[in-house]
Symmetry: C2
Subunit: 178 residues, 2 copies
Amino acid sequence: MSLRMLILAIVEAKPSTGYAITKEFDAVAGFFWRASHQQVYRELAALADEGLVRFKDVAQEGRPDKKVHAITVAGRRAFAEWYAQPQDIPRLNDPLMVKVFTGELGGVDNLIEQLSAARAQHLDKLAMLEAIQREHYPEAPADMPRWKQLVYLTLCWGLARERAWLQWAEQSEALLRG
Amino acid sequence: MSLRMLILAIVEAKPSTGYAITKEFDAVAGFFWRASHQQVYRELAALADEGLVRFKDVAQEGRPDKKVHAITVAGRRAFAEWYAQPQDIPRLNDPLMVKVFTGELGGVDNLIEQLSAARAQHLDKLAMLEAIQREHYPEAPADMPRWKQLVYLTLCWGLARERAWLQWAEQSEALLRG
DNA sequence: TGTGACATGTAAGCAGTTACATGATTTG
DNA sequence: CAAATCATGTAACTGCTTACATGTCACA
Protein backbone atom coordinates (compact mmCIF):
# COMPACT_ATOMS: atom_id res chain seq x y z
CA MET A 1 0.00 0.00 0.00
CA SER A 2 2.69 2.46 0.99
CA LEU A 3 4.64 1.74 -2.15
CA ARG A 4 1.54 2.37 -4.24
CA MET A 5 0.95 5.67 -2.47
CA LEU A 6 4.56 6.70 -2.74
CA ILE A 7 4.43 6.14 -6.49
CA LEU A 8 1.19 8.09 -6.63
CA ALA A 9 2.82 11.02 -4.84
CA ILE A 10 5.82 10.92 -7.18
CA VAL A 11 3.72 11.03 -10.34
CA GLU A 12 1.57 13.75 -8.77
CA ALA A 13 4.62 15.95 -8.41
CA LYS A 14 5.74 15.16 -11.96
CA PRO A 15 4.35 12.67 -14.50
CA SER A 16 7.00 10.00 -14.87
CA THR A 17 7.98 6.70 -16.44
CA GLY A 18 8.55 3.56 -14.40
CA TYR A 19 12.21 3.91 -15.12
CA ALA A 20 12.37 7.45 -13.75
CA ILE A 21 10.40 6.44 -10.65
CA THR A 22 12.87 3.64 -9.99
CA LYS A 23 15.71 6.17 -10.24
CA GLU A 24 13.88 8.39 -7.77
CA PHE A 25 13.69 5.44 -5.39
CA ASP A 26 17.36 4.71 -5.76
CA ALA A 27 18.13 8.32 -4.94
CA VAL A 28 16.18 8.32 -1.65
CA ALA A 29 16.52 4.56 -1.03
CA GLY A 30 19.39 5.00 1.36
CA PHE A 31 17.32 6.69 3.98
CA PHE A 32 13.76 5.49 3.89
CA TRP A 33 12.60 3.14 1.18
CA ARG A 34 13.77 0.80 -1.50
CA ALA A 35 12.00 -0.67 -4.48
CA SER A 36 13.14 -2.61 -7.51
CA HIS A 37 12.05 -1.72 -11.02
CA GLN A 38 9.96 -4.91 -11.14
CA GLN A 39 7.95 -3.72 -8.17
CA VAL A 40 7.51 -0.28 -9.65
CA TYR A 41 6.27 -1.61 -12.99
CA ARG A 42 3.90 -4.01 -11.31
CA GLU A 43 2.44 -1.32 -9.08
CA LEU A 44 2.10 1.11 -11.98
CA ALA A 45 0.17 -1.52 -13.94
CA ALA A 46 -2.11 -2.13 -10.95
CA LEU A 47 -2.63 1.61 -10.41
CA ALA A 48 -3.54 2.05 -14.07
CA ASP A 49 -5.93 -0.92 -13.80
CA GLU A 50 -7.70 0.74 -10.90
CA GLY A 51 -7.81 4.09 -12.66
CA LEU A 52 -5.60 5.84 -10.11
CA VAL A 53 -3.07 6.78 -12.78
CA ARG A 54 -3.33 7.06 -16.54
CA PHE A 55 -0.47 6.83 -19.00
CA LYS A 56 0.44 8.01 -22.44
CA ASP A 57 2.76 6.14 -24.78
CA VAL A 58 5.46 8.50 -25.92
CA ALA A 59 7.58 7.57 -28.91
CA GLN A 60 11.17 8.69 -28.80
CA GLU A 61 13.87 8.80 -31.39
CA GLY A 62 16.91 6.67 -30.72
CA ARG A 63 15.44 5.52 -27.39
CA PRO A 64 12.80 2.97 -26.50
CA ASP A 65 9.22 4.19 -26.29
CA LYS A 66 8.15 5.19 -22.82
CA LYS A 67 4.93 5.29 -20.83
CA VAL A 68 4.48 8.55 -18.98
CA HIS A 69 2.18 8.07 -16.00
CA ALA A 70 0.12 10.83 -14.38
CA ILE A 71 -2.21 10.85 -11.38
CA THR A 72 -5.99 10.95 -11.90
CA VAL A 73 -8.73 12.52 -9.78
CA ALA A 74 -9.52 9.06 -8.36
CA GLY A 75 -5.83 8.73 -7.60
CA ARG A 76 -5.79 11.92 -5.57
CA ARG A 77 -8.84 10.76 -3.65
CA ALA A 78 -7.30 7.34 -2.91
CA PHE A 79 -4.13 9.02 -1.70
CA ALA A 80 -6.02 11.37 0.63
CA GLU A 81 -7.97 8.45 2.09
CA TRP A 82 -4.83 6.45 2.74
CA TYR A 83 -3.07 9.45 4.20
CA ALA A 84 -5.79 10.04 6.79
CA GLN A 85 -5.73 6.47 8.06
CA PRO A 86 -3.43 5.83 11.02
CA GLN A 87 -0.61 3.35 10.42
CA ASP A 88 0.44 0.52 12.68
CA ILE A 89 4.04 0.75 13.78
CA PRO A 90 6.13 -1.54 11.60
CA ARG A 91 7.57 -4.73 13.02
CA LEU A 92 11.25 -5.43 12.88
CA ASN A 93 12.16 -9.04 12.12
CA ASP A 94 15.85 -8.33 12.07
CA PRO A 95 17.96 -11.39 11.16
CA LEU A 96 20.85 -10.09 13.22
CA MET A 97 18.71 -10.09 16.35
CA VAL A 98 17.93 -13.73 15.62
CA LYS A 99 21.66 -14.36 15.63
CA VAL A 100 22.03 -12.53 18.93
CA PHE A 101 19.15 -14.50 20.43
CA THR A 102 20.54 -17.83 19.21
CA GLY A 103 24.13 -16.88 20.04
CA GLU A 104 24.78 -19.79 22.37
CA LEU A 105 23.93 -22.35 19.72
CA GLY A 106 25.80 -20.41 17.05
CA GLY A 107 28.80 -19.75 19.24
CA VAL A 108 29.55 -16.45 20.98
CA ASP A 109 32.80 -15.95 19.07
CA ASN A 110 30.92 -16.26 15.80
CA LEU A 111 28.33 -13.82 17.09
CA ILE A 112 31.00 -11.26 17.90
CA GLU A 113 32.29 -11.59 14.35
CA GLN A 114 28.80 -11.12 12.95
CA LEU A 115 28.34 -8.02 15.06
CA SER A 116 31.64 -6.58 13.84
CA ALA A 117 30.76 -7.19 10.22
CA ALA A 118 27.35 -5.58 10.69
CA ARG A 119 28.98 -2.65 12.46
CA ALA A 120 31.17 -2.01 9.44
CA GLN A 121 28.09 -1.95 7.21
CA HIS A 122 26.22 0.40 9.52
CA LEU A 123 29.25 2.69 9.73
CA ASP A 124 29.33 2.86 5.93
CA LYS A 125 25.67 3.68 5.81
CA LEU A 126 26.04 6.37 8.46
CA ALA A 127 28.95 7.91 6.58
CA MET A 128 26.87 7.95 3.42
CA LEU A 129 23.96 9.66 5.15
CA GLU A 130 26.26 12.20 6.78
CA ALA A 131 27.78 13.00 3.40
CA ILE A 132 24.31 13.63 2.00
CA GLN A 133 23.53 15.88 4.92
CA ARG A 134 26.72 17.92 4.51
CA GLU A 135 26.26 18.23 0.79
CA HIS A 136 22.55 18.84 0.41
CA TYR A 137 21.27 20.06 3.78
CA PRO A 138 23.90 22.35 5.28
CA GLU A 139 21.46 25.12 6.24
CA ALA A 140 19.27 25.37 9.36
CA PRO A 141 16.17 23.16 8.98
CA ALA A 142 13.89 26.05 9.92
CA ASP A 143 15.11 27.97 6.85
CA MET A 144 14.33 25.19 4.39
CA PRO A 145 11.21 25.24 2.25
CA ARG A 146 8.59 22.82 3.46
CA TRP A 147 9.25 20.11 0.88
CA LYS A 148 12.92 20.11 1.76
CA GLN A 149 12.18 19.93 5.47
CA LEU A 150 10.15 16.79 4.88
CA VAL A 151 12.87 15.00 2.95
CA TYR A 152 15.37 16.20 5.54
CA LEU A 153 13.32 14.63 8.32
CA THR A 154 13.43 11.23 6.64
CA LEU A 155 17.19 11.65 6.39
CA CYS A 156 17.33 12.56 10.08
CA TRP A 157 15.52 9.37 10.96
CA GLY A 158 18.10 7.39 9.03
CA LEU A 159 20.89 9.17 10.88
CA ALA A 160 19.25 8.65 14.26
CA ARG A 161 18.64 4.98 13.57
CA GLU A 162 22.19 4.29 12.48
CA ARG A 163 23.66 6.13 15.45
CA ALA A 164 21.41 4.29 17.88
CA TRP A 165 22.31 0.98 16.28
CA LEU A 166 26.04 1.64 16.46
CA GLN A 167 25.82 2.61 20.12
CA TRP A 168 23.91 -0.58 20.85
CA ALA A 169 26.43 -2.69 18.93
CA GLU A 170 29.42 -1.23 20.75
CA GLN A 171 27.82 -1.84 24.11
CA SER A 172 26.88 -5.38 23.05
CA GLU A 173 30.33 -6.30 21.82
CA ALA A 174 31.86 -4.98 25.01
CA LEU A 175 29.51 -7.08 27.13
CA LEU A 176 30.10 -10.24 25.11
CA ARG A 177 33.86 -9.83 25.09
CA GLY A 178 33.55 -9.69 28.88
CA MET B 1 15.32 -18.18 6.50
CA SER B 2 15.73 -16.45 9.85
CA LEU B 3 12.37 -17.71 11.01
CA ARG B 4 13.34 -21.25 10.06
CA MET B 5 16.60 -20.93 11.95
CA LEU B 6 14.94 -19.38 14.96
CA ILE B 7 12.56 -22.32 15.13
CA LEU B 8 15.48 -24.69 14.77
CA ALA B 9 17.26 -23.02 17.70
CA ILE B 10 14.12 -23.22 19.84
CA VAL B 11 13.60 -26.93 19.26
CA GLU B 12 17.31 -27.50 19.82
CA ALA B 13 17.03 -26.01 23.29
CA LYS B 14 13.92 -28.07 24.00
CA PRO B 15 11.83 -30.28 21.69
CA SER B 16 8.52 -28.48 21.25
CA THR B 17 5.16 -28.45 19.55
CA GLY B 18 4.17 -25.77 17.04
CA TYR B 19 1.84 -24.40 19.64
CA ALA B 20 4.59 -24.02 22.24
CA ILE B 21 6.91 -22.40 19.70
CA THR B 22 4.21 -19.87 18.86
CA LYS B 23 3.89 -19.07 22.58
CA GLU B 24 7.64 -18.61 22.75
CA PHE B 25 7.39 -16.12 19.89
CA ASP B 26 4.61 -14.23 21.57
CA ALA B 27 6.75 -13.95 24.69
CA VAL B 28 9.73 -12.39 22.90
CA ALA B 29 7.72 -10.85 20.06
CA GLY B 30 7.66 -7.44 21.68
CA PHE B 31 11.35 -6.87 21.26
CA PHE B 32 12.67 -8.67 18.26
CA TRP B 33 10.44 -10.92 16.20
CA ARG B 34 6.89 -11.89 15.59
CA ALA B 35 5.35 -14.95 13.95
CA SER B 36 1.83 -16.30 13.70
CA HIS B 37 0.98 -19.91 14.40
CA GLN B 38 0.27 -20.43 10.69
CA GLN B 39 3.80 -19.44 9.84
CA VAL B 40 5.23 -21.67 12.54
CA TYR B 41 3.28 -24.72 11.39
CA ARG B 42 4.23 -24.12 7.78
CA GLU B 43 7.92 -23.79 8.60
CA LEU B 44 7.85 -26.85 10.84
CA ALA B 45 6.33 -28.88 8.02
CA ALA B 46 9.02 -27.61 5.63
CA LEU B 47 11.79 -28.33 8.13
CA ALA B 48 10.49 -31.86 8.62
CA ASP B 49 10.33 -32.29 4.84
CA GLU B 50 13.96 -31.32 4.53
CA GLY B 51 14.96 -33.57 7.41
CA LEU B 52 16.15 -30.71 9.62
CA VAL B 53 13.70 -31.67 12.36
CA ARG B 54 11.88 -34.89 13.12
CA PHE B 55 8.67 -35.19 15.11
CA LYS B 56 6.90 -37.74 17.24
CA ASP B 57 3.14 -37.88 17.63
CA VAL B 58 2.32 -37.85 21.29
CA ALA B 59 -1.16 -38.88 22.42
CA GLN B 60 -2.50 -37.04 25.42
CA GLU B 61 -5.46 -37.64 27.65
CA GLY B 62 -8.08 -34.96 27.64
CA ARG B 63 -6.02 -32.87 25.20
CA PRO B 64 -5.49 -33.03 21.46
CA ASP B 65 -2.59 -35.12 20.25
CA LYS B 66 0.57 -33.17 19.71
CA LYS B 67 3.61 -33.34 17.49
CA VAL B 68 6.82 -32.86 19.40
CA HIS B 69 9.58 -31.63 17.09
CA ALA B 70 13.29 -32.10 17.73
CA ILE B 71 16.35 -31.00 15.79
CA THR B 72 18.31 -33.52 13.72
CA VAL B 73 22.02 -33.72 12.92
CA ALA B 74 21.29 -32.22 9.49
CA GLY B 75 19.38 -29.48 11.30
CA ARG B 76 22.37 -28.59 13.44
CA ARG B 77 24.56 -28.49 10.37
CA ALA B 78 22.12 -26.24 8.48
CA PHE B 79 21.93 -23.91 11.46
CA ALA B 80 25.70 -23.65 11.75
CA GLU B 81 26.01 -22.89 8.04
CA TRP B 82 23.41 -20.17 8.22
CA TYR B 83 24.95 -18.72 11.35
CA ALA B 84 28.35 -18.33 9.74
CA GLN B 85 27.02 -16.41 6.73
CA PRO B 86 27.03 -12.64 7.10
CA GLN B 87 23.64 -10.95 6.92
CA ASP B 88 22.75 -7.90 4.91
CA ILE B 89 21.44 -5.07 7.01
CA PRO B 90 17.65 -5.07 6.82
CA ARG B 91 15.91 -2.33 4.97
CA LEU B 92 13.19 -0.33 6.64
CA ASN B 93 10.22 0.45 4.42
CA ASP B 94 8.43 2.37 7.12
CA PRO B 95 4.95 3.58 6.04
CA LEU B 96 5.23 6.54 8.37
CA MET B 97 8.33 7.78 6.56
CA VAL B 98 6.32 7.62 3.35
CA LYS B 99 3.81 9.91 4.99
CA VAL B 100 6.55 12.29 6.06
CA PHE B 101 8.02 12.30 2.57
CA THR B 102 4.64 12.91 0.95
CA GLY B 103 3.56 15.39 3.63
CA GLU B 104 2.92 18.28 1.27
CA LEU B 105 0.43 16.30 -0.80
CA GLY B 106 -1.17 14.82 2.32
CA GLY B 107 -1.27 18.09 4.22
CA VAL B 108 1.16 19.08 6.95
CA ASP B 109 -1.59 19.31 9.58
CA ASN B 110 -2.57 15.74 8.82
CA LEU B 111 1.05 14.72 9.04
CA ILE B 112 1.41 16.26 12.49
CA GLU B 113 -1.61 14.26 13.61
CA GLN B 114 -0.13 11.06 12.20
CA LEU B 115 3.11 11.73 14.02
CA SER B 116 1.28 12.30 17.29
CA ALA B 117 -0.66 9.07 16.95
CA ALA B 118 2.50 7.13 16.16
CA ARG B 119 4.24 8.77 19.11
CA ALA B 120 1.55 7.45 21.44
CA GLN B 121 2.09 3.93 20.10
CA HIS B 122 5.84 4.13 20.45
CA LEU B 123 5.50 5.46 23.99
CA ASP B 124 3.33 2.47 24.85
CA LYS B 125 5.84 0.11 23.40
CA LEU B 126 8.71 1.76 25.24
CA ALA B 127 6.78 1.54 28.51
CA MET B 128 6.18 -2.14 27.89
CA LEU B 129 9.84 -2.81 27.23
CA GLU B 130 10.90 -0.84 30.27
CA ALA B 131 8.50 -2.84 32.41
CA ILE B 132 10.05 -6.07 31.14
CA GLN B 133 13.48 -4.72 31.91
CA ARG B 134 12.54 -3.75 35.49
CA GLU B 135 10.83 -7.04 36.12
CA HIS B 136 13.12 -9.56 34.50
CA TYR B 137 16.50 -7.90 34.10
CA PRO B 138 17.14 -5.77 37.19
CA GLU B 139 20.69 -7.06 37.77
CA ALA B 140 23.91 -5.88 36.13
CA PRO B 141 24.27 -7.39 32.63
CA ALA B 142 27.78 -8.61 33.41
CA ASP B 143 26.36 -10.81 36.20
CA MET B 144 23.83 -12.52 33.97
CA PRO B 145 24.42 -15.99 32.57
CA ARG B 146 25.30 -15.93 28.89
CA TRP B 147 21.87 -16.98 27.59
CA LYS B 148 20.24 -14.23 29.58
CA GLN B 149 22.73 -11.64 28.35
CA LEU B 150 21.80 -12.51 24.80
CA VAL B 151 18.08 -12.09 25.35
CA TYR B 152 18.79 -8.92 27.27
CA LEU B 153 20.73 -7.48 24.34
CA THR B 154 17.75 -7.97 22.02
CA LEU B 155 15.65 -6.14 24.60
CA CYS B 156 18.22 -3.34 24.75
CA TRP B 157 18.00 -2.90 21.00
CA GLY B 158 14.24 -2.51 21.30
CA LEU B 159 14.70 0.10 24.01
CA ALA B 160 17.34 1.99 22.02
CA ARG B 161 15.21 1.97 18.89
CA GLU B 162 12.12 3.26 20.62
CA ARG B 163 14.03 6.00 22.39
CA ALA B 164 15.72 7.11 19.20
CA TRP B 165 12.39 7.15 17.39
CA LEU B 166 10.72 9.22 20.07
CA GLN B 167 13.52 11.76 20.05
CA TRP B 168 13.28 12.03 16.30
CA ALA B 169 9.49 12.44 16.43
CA GLU B 170 9.64 15.22 19.00
CA GLN B 171 12.21 17.10 16.96
CA SER B 172 10.15 16.59 13.82
CA GLU B 173 6.90 17.78 15.32
CA ALA B 174 8.62 20.86 16.67
CA LEU B 175 10.05 21.71 13.26
CA LEU B 176 6.75 21.18 11.46
CA ARG B 177 4.76 23.22 13.99
CA GLY B 178 7.23 26.01 13.29
C1' DT C 1 34.14 -4.23 -28.37
C1' DG C 2 32.13 -3.89 -24.19
C1' DT C 3 29.83 -1.40 -20.49
C1' DG C 4 26.47 1.69 -18.96
C1' DA C 5 22.23 4.39 -19.51
C1' DC C 6 17.59 4.14 -21.21
C1' DA C 7 13.22 1.48 -21.13
C1' DT C 8 10.00 -2.36 -20.27
C1' DG C 9 8.55 -6.45 -18.82
C1' DT C 10 7.65 -12.08 -17.28
C1' DA C 11 8.05 -15.97 -14.06
C1' DA C 12 9.03 -18.33 -9.99
C1' DG C 13 9.35 -18.33 -5.43
C1' DC C 14 9.75 -16.78 -0.44
C1' DA C 15 7.75 -14.50 3.58
C1' DG C 16 4.02 -12.97 5.88
C1' DT C 17 -1.07 -11.73 6.79
C1' DT C 18 -6.00 -12.58 7.19
C1' DA C 19 -9.66 -15.45 7.25
C1' DC C 20 -11.61 -19.90 7.80
C1' DA C 21 -12.01 -24.44 10.23
C1' DT C 22 -12.24 -28.03 14.06
C1' DG C 23 -12.69 -29.80 18.65
C1' DA C 24 -11.75 -31.00 23.64
C1' DT C 25 -10.85 -29.25 28.42
C1' DT C 26 -10.42 -25.94 32.00
C1' DT C 27 -11.63 -21.89 34.46
C1' DG C 28 -14.67 -18.18 35.94
C1' DC D 1 -22.90 -20.95 30.16
C1' DA D 2 -19.14 -18.45 28.15
C1' DA D 3 -14.45 -17.62 27.50
C1' DA D 4 -9.77 -19.00 27.50
C1' DT D 5 -6.33 -22.58 26.70
C1' DC D 6 -4.49 -26.42 24.20
C1' DA D 7 -3.58 -28.09 19.54
C1' DT D 8 -3.54 -28.39 14.53
C1' DG D 9 -4.21 -27.10 10.19
C1' DT D 10 -6.01 -25.05 4.93
C1' DA D 11 -6.69 -21.30 1.53
C1' DA D 12 -6.28 -17.00 -0.50
C1' DC D 13 -3.85 -13.04 -0.85
C1' DT D 14 -0.21 -9.21 -0.54
C1' DG D 15 4.42 -7.67 -0.86
C1' DC D 16 8.86 -8.33 -2.14
C1' DT D 17 13.08 -10.71 -4.19
C1' DT D 18 15.77 -13.10 -7.69
C1' DA D 19 16.46 -14.53 -12.04
C1' DC D 20 15.47 -14.26 -16.82
C1' DA D 21 14.56 -11.63 -21.09
C1' DT D 22 14.84 -7.92 -24.91
C1' DG D 23 16.62 -4.09 -27.51
C1' DT D 24 18.87 0.72 -28.73
C1' DC D 25 22.26 4.21 -28.31
C1' DA D 26 26.38 6.67 -26.47
C1' DC D 27 30.86 6.59 -24.93
C1' DA D 28 35.58 5.00 -24.01
